[in-house]
C-alpha cells in the first residue's frame, strides 16, 4: 500500500529488549503492518536506508563511534526520532562504565574476566572495529530527539500507544499508568 508510513529501528548500545517489547504487542502486530513498512531495521535486516522514514526508533545509548554514525544517519533519514527505553534516554546499564577507566574495562573484558580466553593477551582492535567512546552517551546529546519512551523496556502497550498515536496523528498525552514506574 502506497500510503504506508515508513519506520526504521535500530539497537545501539542496548540489549534488544526494547525490540522484544515491541514484538510483544502481539496481535496488534497485524494492525501495525497494515499501517507501516519497515525499512532499515534488524527486523528486515536492511542495513542502509532505502527511503526516507517517517519514524525512527532508537534503542540503546551511544557507546562507540559507529553508534554515533548510525544515530546521525537516522537523524538524517527520519522525520521523527524517538529514544526508546532507559539506555537510549539515559545511557542505562552500559553507562555504569562511565566512572571506570576504559583500560580497566578492556582488561576485565578480554584479559582477566572469567570469560577471557586463558593465556590470551590480545585486546581486539582493528580499523574495521568500532572505537569505544570515553563514556556512554544518551542519544539526545548527539542529535535532536523528538520523543522519549521511558522504561526498561517500555511496555508493549506504551510502544503501541505511542506508535499508533503518532501514525494516526492523534497522539495526545500518554496515559500516566503507562509511563509511571514507581
Amino acid at each position: 500500500m502506497a500510503d504506508k508510513k515508513v519506520v526504521a529501528t535500530v539497537s545501539l548500545a542496548g540489549c534488544f529488549g526494547c525490540h522484544m517489547s515491541m514484538l510483544d504487542i502481539d496481535l496488534r502486530l497485524l494492525d501495525l503492518v497494515q499501517l507501516v513498512r519497515f525499512d532499515r531495521s534488524p527486523l528486515t535486516d536492511i542495513k542502509k536506508f532505502t527511503e526516507r522514514a517517517a519514524i525512527g526508533l532508537i534503542e540503546g545509548g551511544v557507546c562507540n563511534d559507529e553508534n554515533v554514525h548510525v544515530l546521525r544517519e537516522f537523524r538524517l533519514n527520519c522525520d521523527v526520532l524517538i529514544s526508546v527505553g532507559e539506555c537510549a534516554i539515559m545511557g542505562g546499564l552500559p553507562a555504569l562504565r562511565n566512572d571506570i577507566p576504559l583500560r580497566e574495562c578492556l582488561e576485565e573484558a578480554y584479559l582477566t574476566g572469567p570469560t577471557a580466553v586463558q593465556g590470551q593477551r590480545i585486546i581486539p582492535h582493528h580499523v574495521d572495529l568500532p572505537k569505544i567512546l570515553d563514556r556512554v552517551y544518551p542519544c539526545h546529546e548527539i542529535v535532536k530527539i523528538d520523543y522519549y519512551l521511558p522504561g526498561c523496556p517500555p511496555s508493549a502497550d506504551l510502544i503501541w500507544a505511542a506508535l499508533s498515536g503518532l501514525l494516526s496523528g492523534k497522539l495526545d498525552t500518554l496515559p500516566r499508568e503507562l509511563v509511571k514506574y514507581d
Binding site: 563511534d65 546521525r72 576504559l102 570515553d134 535532536k144
Partner: protein, 590 residues
C-alpha cells in the same frame, strides 16, 4: 589520660544526652582535629548509637572531619565576593606554600586545606578560617606570611596580633580578632541610644499578652529573610499549652553576602540577649539558646561573657546557652536549625506542625533572627511610634543591610524599609553597577538601572545581603558560583532540590560552554518550577530564583549565548576527542 577515658568524660559532661551530639563531636574533635573511627566506636557505645548513625550526623557538617586533617585546618571562603577579591590567588598561594591541593592534608600532618561557603566576611574578602579563626583581606604576601609563621610555631593568637586587631570590641581580649566592623551608617534607631536593660525593664511592666500586642502593633517582621510577623509568631507559640517553651536566636547567618549579625553579636550582644529575655517574658519561657554558626566561633567566648554580664538585668529565671553549629547553610532554616540543636543532621522538617507548636525537643519554640531580637529590645526602649516612623506600611521600621561587591564602601548600613535602590547605590558608592543581588543568592537579582525599585516586602524583600556587581563582571560566572553554592548546601532530602539544582547548573554550563539550544531557555524555567514546588524548605524554594530573575532582568544574556546554528538537528559532538582515550589505551596495551 587515655582517649577512652577522655571521651567518657566528654559524654558525661553532656549527661550522655544524644541531643547534644554536635557539642560532643566538637569536644571529641578538639584534641586531634578529627574524630577517628575508634572515637566513634567509643562514643557510639557510650551514647547507645551506631557508628553509621554518628557518621550520618557528622558527615552533614562542613567542619567535622573523620580523617586526620591537619593541626591547622584552613577553610577558604568560596563565595562570589571572595572570588571577585582574589580567591583564586590565595587558593593558589596556599596550595603552592603547603604543597597540597584543596581537600588535602600536608604529609607532615600540619596543614589541611579545604573550602567552605560564605563565612560572613564579604566586606573584607577574601578571607579564610584557620581553626575557625578568621583571617581577612588576604593576598599572596599575607598567605605566605601565615604559612611561614605557623611553620615557625607561632600561635594563631599571636599571628592575629601580628596582622593587627580589628576595631572596637574585635580588639577585646574575649574576641581577639582581626575582623573589622565596617559599620558605615549607624542609622537612628536600631543602634542608636542603646541602654542595656531599659527595653526589658519596660516590657516587664506589662503582662505577657500586652508585650505580644506591642510587638504585633509594631508590625515587626522577622529579619532572617522570610519576613514572618514576629508578634504573630509569638502569639501562636503562646497559644499552645506545654510544660516548657523555648526562645531560640538564629545566629546561623549563612546567606552569602550577609554579615550584619556579626556586627550585632560583636558590638551589641546585649541588645540581642535582651530581646530574647523579652521574648521569654512574653512566652513564659525559662530557657533560651543562641545557635551560633561555627564560622563565628571566635565570638563564642565574648557572647558567653555578655550573657553572664546581662544576668544582673534579669529579675526572673532565664537560662541562656550557646549552641555552636558546625557548618551548614541550611541550618539557617528554622526547623533544620532545631534538628541540628537536637544533635541530628540539619535537615528541614516537614511542616506543619510548625516550630511554634512542636519545636526544640518537641516543645513550642520561637526562633527569631539576631536582628529581630535586637529590634524587639529597641521597640520597647524607644517605643512603637518611633519604630513605625521608619519604613512603609507593610514593612515598618529599619533593618541592617550588608553591602558588598563593587562598591567604594562595603559594610553595614542601617536603612529604613522602602529606601530606593538608587539611593542605596549612591550611599554605598556603587561603581558602574550592572546587577544587584538583593537578599543573597536565594534572593532576587535586579538590573542596576531599576533605581526606583525599593527595598521592602512590597517590592524587594531581603534578609540583609546586598551585593553589587559592576559592568566588568561576567554574569554567568556569578550565576555559576551561586548555583554551585546551592548544589553544595542542599541537604539532599528532597530530590527536586538535590538533583534539580545540579540539573540547573548543568543547563547553565551549556550556556557558558556555548552548547545551549533555544529549548534550554524553557528548560531553565521548567526545572526552576520543579525545584521550587518540590522542595520542603526555603533552600529549594528559592535557589532557582537567581537564574530566573537574572534571565528576566537581562533577557539578552541567555539568548545571545545561544550560538547560531545551535538549533540544528545535529549537536556538537567531538568524535575525535571522545575516542582519543581509546586510541591511547590501545596503543599502551599493545
Amino acid at each position: 589520660m587515655d582517649r577512652a577515658t577522655e571521651l567518657a568524660g566528654i559524654v558525661q559532661k553532656f549527661k550522655s544526652d544524644r541531643t547534644r551530639l554536635i557539642d560532643i563531636l566538637w569536644a571529641a574533635q578538639e584534641r586531634e582535629g578529627f574524630v577517628s573511627h575508634f572515637d566513634l566506636e567509643e562514643l557510639g557505645r557510650l551514647l547507645k548509637l551506631s557508628v553509621p548513625a554518628l557518621r550520618e550526623v557528622m558527615s552533614f557538617y562542613h567542619f567535622f572531619r573523620d580523617q586526620p586533617s591537619g593541626r591547622f585546618q584552613i577553610y577558604l571562603d568560596t563565595s562570589m565576593i571572595a572570588e571577585m577579591n582574589g580567591l583564586s590567588e590565595i587558593r593558589d598561594e596556599f596550595e603552592r606554600q603547603l604543597g597540597v591541593k584543596v581537600g588535602q592534608t600536608s604529609p607532615d600532618g600540619q596543614f589541611g586545606l579545604f573550602e567552605t561557603s560564605c563565612i560572613g566576611m564579604s566586606d573584607q574578602a577574601p578571607a579564610v578560617l584557620i581553626n575557625l579563626v578568621p583571617f581577612t583581606q588576604l593576598n599572596r604576601q599575607k598567605v605566605n606570611l601565615i604559612v611561614h609563621r605557623l611553620r615557625q610555631g607561632v600561635e594563631l593568637k599571636d599571628l592575629v596580633h601580628e596582622f593587627g586587631l580589628g576595631d572596637a570590641q574585635n580588639a577585646n581580649s574575649s574576641v581577639h580578632s582581626m575582623v573589622r566592623n565596617n559599620l558605615k551608617k549607624p542609622g537612628s534607631f536600631m543602634l542608636a541610644s542603646v541602654v542595656p536593660g531599659a527595653g526589658l525593664k519596660k516590657s516587664l511592666a506589662h503582662s505577657a499578652d500586652e508585650v505580644i500586642d506591642t510587638v504585633t502593633a509594631s508590625g515587626l517582621r522577622g529579619r532572617g529573610g522570610a519576613g514572618f510577623p514576629t508578634g504573630k509568631k509569638w502569639a501562636a507559640c503562646r497559644s499552645f499549652q506545654a510544660p516548657k517553651r523555648y526562645v531560640v536566636c538564629n545566629a546561623d547567618e549563612g546567606e552569602p553576602g550577609t554579615f550584619k549579625d556579626r556586627l550585632l553579636l560583636t558590638e551589641y550582644p546585649a541588645l540581642v540577649i535582651e530581646g530574647m529575655a523579652i521574648a521569654a517574658h512574653a512566652l513564659g519561657a525559662r530557657e533560651g539558646i543562641i545557635y551560633l554558626r561555627a564560622e563565628y566561633k571566635y565570638l563564642e567566648a565574648h557572647l558567653q561573657q555578655e550573657i553572664e554580664r546581662f544576668r544582673k538585668h534579669l529579675s526572673f529565671e532565664f537560662d541562656l546557652r550557646i549552641q555552636l553549629g558546625a557548618g551548614a547553610y541550611v541550618c539557617g532554616e528554622e526547623s533544620a536549625l532545631l534538628e541540628s540543636m537536637e544533635g541530628k543532621r540539619g535537615e528541614p522538617r516537614l511542616r506543619p506542625p510548625f516550630p511554634v507548636e512542636v519545636g526544640y525537643l518537641g516543645m513550642p519554640t520561637v526562633v527569631n533572627n539576631v536582628e529581630t531580637f535586637a529590634l524587639v529590645t529597641q521597640i520597647f526602649n524607644q517605643g512603637v511610634g518611633t519604630f513605625r516612623n521608619f519604613g512603609t506600611p507593610r514593612s515598618p521600621g529599619v533593618r541592617l543591610l550588608s553591602v558588598s561587591g563593587d562598591v567604594a564602601h562595603p559594610g553595614i548600613y542601617e536603612i529604613p524599609w522602602g529606601i530606593k535602590i538608587g539611593d542605596v547605590l549612591s550611599m554605598v558608592g556603587a561603581q558602574n553597577p550592572l546587577m544587584i543581588q538583593v537578599g543573597g543568592p536565594s534572593g532576587i537579582a535586579i538590573n542596576a538601572n531599576d533605581v526606583n525599585r525599593e527595598i521592602s516586602y512590597e517590592d524587594l524583600p531581603t534578609g540583609g545581603s546586598f551585593m553589587v556587581f559592576s559592568k566588568d563582571r561576567d554574569l554567568f560566572a556569578i550565576l555559576s558560583n551561586f548555583m554551585t553554592f546551592f548544589v553544595n548546601e542542599s541537604c539532599g532530602n528532597c530530590t527536586p532540590c538535590r538533583a534539580g539544582n545540579v540539573a540547573l547548573r548543568e543547563l547553565l554550563r551549556r550556556f557558558i560552554g556555548g552548547h545551549a539550544r533555544s529549548e534550554d531557555l524553557g528548560h531553565i524555567d521548567s526545572w526552576a518550577s520543579i525545584v521550587k514546588r518540590g522542595s520542603r524548605c526555603g533552600l529549594g524554594g528559592s535557589s532557582p530564583n537567581v537564574l530566573t530573575t537574572v534571565k528576566a532582568a537581562f533577557p539578552d544574556l541567555f539568548v545571545n549565548a545561544i550560538k547560531p546554528g545551535a538549533d540544528s538537528l545535529f549537536f556538537d559532538f567531538n568524535e575525535k576527542a571522545a575516542t582519543a582515550d581509546y586510541d591511547r589505551t590501545i596503543r599502551e596495551m599493545k
